[in-house]
């Protein structure tokens, strides 16, 4: 079984995702990076489920896919909202609140 390769892929995707969330200033790119992390979790769960021979991991992954869809729906709505109000989706330009 290729479990360790799958886990390695998951870990690499996770690192790319975390880097993207921290380094990117564009709201859509940050959302995409978060999706990368969620998918690395799904890969992990499926790899473990295959290795362990249990269905729990598959179920968990299905839940994550469903909830991630809801999250992205809300996230894109919010990005659209700030684009409508300020004509920009740069996160570094969000500076109404500080101190």
């Amino acid at each position: 079984m290729l479990t360790s390769q799958f886990l390695l892929l998951g870990a690499i995707l996770f690192c790319i995702g975390v880097y993207g969330v921290i380094a990117r200033k564009n709201a859509v790119l940050v959302l995409m990076s978060i999706e990368l992390i969620l998918n690395s979790v799904n890969i992990n769960l499926l790899a473990f489920a295959l290795r362990n021979g249990s269905a729990d991991g598959h179920t968990f992954a299905l839940y994550i896919i469903a909830v991630a869809a809801a999250e992205v729906g809300v996230g894109l709505a919010m990005v659209l909202l700030i684009y409508r109000n300020r004509r920009s989706i740069g996160l570094d330009e969000l500076s109404e609140l500080r101190g």
């Binding site: 769960l45 473990f48 996230g75 990005v79 300020r86 609140l97």
Partner: protein, 504 residues
């Protein structure tokens, strides 16, 4: 694929204990009714929605009471994935009553703005349903689903004022950091599942042994899960969203986030560390210790230099979170039961006091339309009742004796002293120093209220709507009763061995 087919063949429908699920069912029905009534009522009759929301919350309290009075009060559903025990019933009661007070706090605020009222009540109820589920979740999947259930509506509530740039910014910051935190937490959960081959928290507890083949993976998983919840409870250094979101969101939503949402994060953290990671205490205890010390200190230092009242309360609530983490830092040892009791008592006292605090802020800002601390100048001379209430709530937050906040702090320090290790004593000293620092900014607000002149000499009285008056009454009575008769809540620790009750 064969195991999927074989496990499908033996599947039988689980028997569902509908009495145990009754609070959730009442809330789910209530929020559907609110959504439907919103579609079919005219603008004039939208006040119905706040009444319906209040009744759904009170309706959901009834089954919580019948479950608590029932002899066999620990009920385990879905093979132990969803457990209704004393701990979860106490927390469900807290969420539902705090939700009811928030409905009272927000009804006049929501009615007077021309915003999306129906959506406000619907999202509030949905988020509260997620919290009620969170108190019973004892499985990775149900913890995750409950967490998202309570968070996603909260993101939308923070951005509820669609045309207000500050509210947009509050929502976006809260959303991005919140989703990032839950993604990191999920990565930790996937590792836990891999090692334990089960998503049940009690199975994970059995599988954790840090010196075995997977020791490093397990330590990493525990750290990721704790980091995920640290974002939720705005522990330093994961607190950066909190002040911005609290300031930018509509004030009743801020009250909701700083009390209910935070309490839900804490109970999830408590359930995870005490049920799933008791054997991993060498990893999470030092980590929570550092989080607690940083959270108390940094929250206080930033609160000292704020001029905006809501932002000051935001940093003060960050620092109060550090005091809730304080007993958790020793929860894995002999002080486990005392620590759990301290967290529960602290959350109850903090909820009553902070909701009252927001009640006063909402009442005063109806007149002053300002968030500055200076706008409270001379409050006592023209609104003596609000001045006295504000003083009581501030004193309770500061932990002055016979008030609710004091009994919370007392229980937290008691847990540290029960543990009686050098690190516990050091943390207790840090906590004590921070209690004194906190008095600096709470006292500053008191000085404005009692000693400063009224800004612009404007002494027109404040009219407080009756719903706000009721909310202020409930919270001040709760704050005083908790302080004078602490046995009322300290009793919750005696009801059963709560740590033992987790297993179901």
């Amino acid at each position: 694929m064969s195991f999927l087919v074989s496990s499908a063949a033996v599947w039988t429908a689980p028997s569902v204990d509908y009495h145990a699920l009754a609070p959730e069912i009442v809330l789910a029905v209530g929020l559907s009714i609110v959504l439907l009534v919103d579609l079919f009522t005219s603008e004039r009759n939208k006040w119905l929605l706040s009444v319906l929301t209040g009744f759904s919350l009170l309706g959901a309290v009834l089954p919580v009471l019948t479950l608590a009075l029932h002899d066999d009060s620990t009920r385990s559903l879905f093979d132990g994935r969803y457990v209704v025990d004393e701990f979860s019933l106490v927390m469900k009661g807290l969420f539902l009553l705090a939700g009811y007070v928030i409905v009272l706090l927000s009804s006049s605020h929501v009615e007077e703005g021309d915003y999306w009222r129906g959506e406000y009540w619907f999202l509030l109820l949905t988020s509260l349903l997620g919290m009620v589920m969170m108190s019973s979740a004892r499985d990775l999947v149900s913890v995750f689903v409950a967490l998202e259930f309570l968070s996603i509506p909260a993101y939308m509530l923070a951005a509820w004022r669609k045309r207000d740039l500050k509210s947009n910014e509050a929502g976006v910051k809260y959303f991005l950091l919140g989703v990032f935190a839950s993604a990191v937490m999920l990565y930790g959960m996937s590792l836990l599942y891999g090692v334990a081959n089960s998503t049940l928290l009690i199975d994970i507890a059995e599988s954790i042994s840090l010196d075995g083949e997977f020791g490093a993976i397990q330590a990493l998983a525990i750290v990721f899960v704790v980091v995920g919840f640290a974002f939720k409870v705005s522990a330093v250094p994961f607190h950066t969203w909190a002040p911005d979101t609290y300031e930018g969101a509509p004030t009743p939503v801020t009250a909701f986030l700083s009390v209910a949402s935070k309490a839900a994060g804490f109970i999830a953290l408590v359930v995870m560390v005490l049920t799933a990671f008791p054997e991993g205490r060498d990893v999470w205890q030092p980590f929570v210790w550092i989080l607690s010390a940083l959270t108390m200190t940094i929250g206080n230092v930033f609160a000292l230099r704020q001029t905006n009242l809501v932002r000051m309360i935001a940093y003060s609530s960050v620092s109060q979170g550090g005091f809730v983490l304080m007993p958790l830092a020793v929860a894995g040892g002999v002080a486990g039961e005392a620590a759990l009791r301290a967290v529960v008592v602290y959350l109850i006292a903090y909820a009553a006091t902070n909701l009252g605090m927001f009640g006063v802020i909402l009442s005063v800002s109806r007149k002053t339309r300002s968030g500055d601390i200076a706008s409270l100048g001379g409050l006592f001379t023209y609104a003596p009742a609000l001045g006295v209430l504000l003083t009581i709530f501030l004193a309770s937050l500061a932990g002055i004796p016979p008030l609710g906040g004091w009994i919370g702090k007392f229980a937290a320090f008691q847990a540290l002293l029960t543990d009686a290790t050098p690190w516990a004593y050091v943390l207790a000293v840090i906590g004590a120093v921070n209690s004194v620092i906190a008095f600096g900014y709470y006292g500053n607000v008191m000085r404005e209220v009692w000693m400063r002149p009224v800004p612009h000499g404007d002494t027109t009285p404040i009219t407080t709507p009756s719903s706000l008056q009721i909310a202020l009454g409930i919270t001040v009575i709760a704050t005083l009763v908790l302080g004078i008769l602490p046995g009322v809540v300290l009793h919750f620790g005696d009801m059963a061995d709560l740590v033992g009750a987790f297993g179901g």
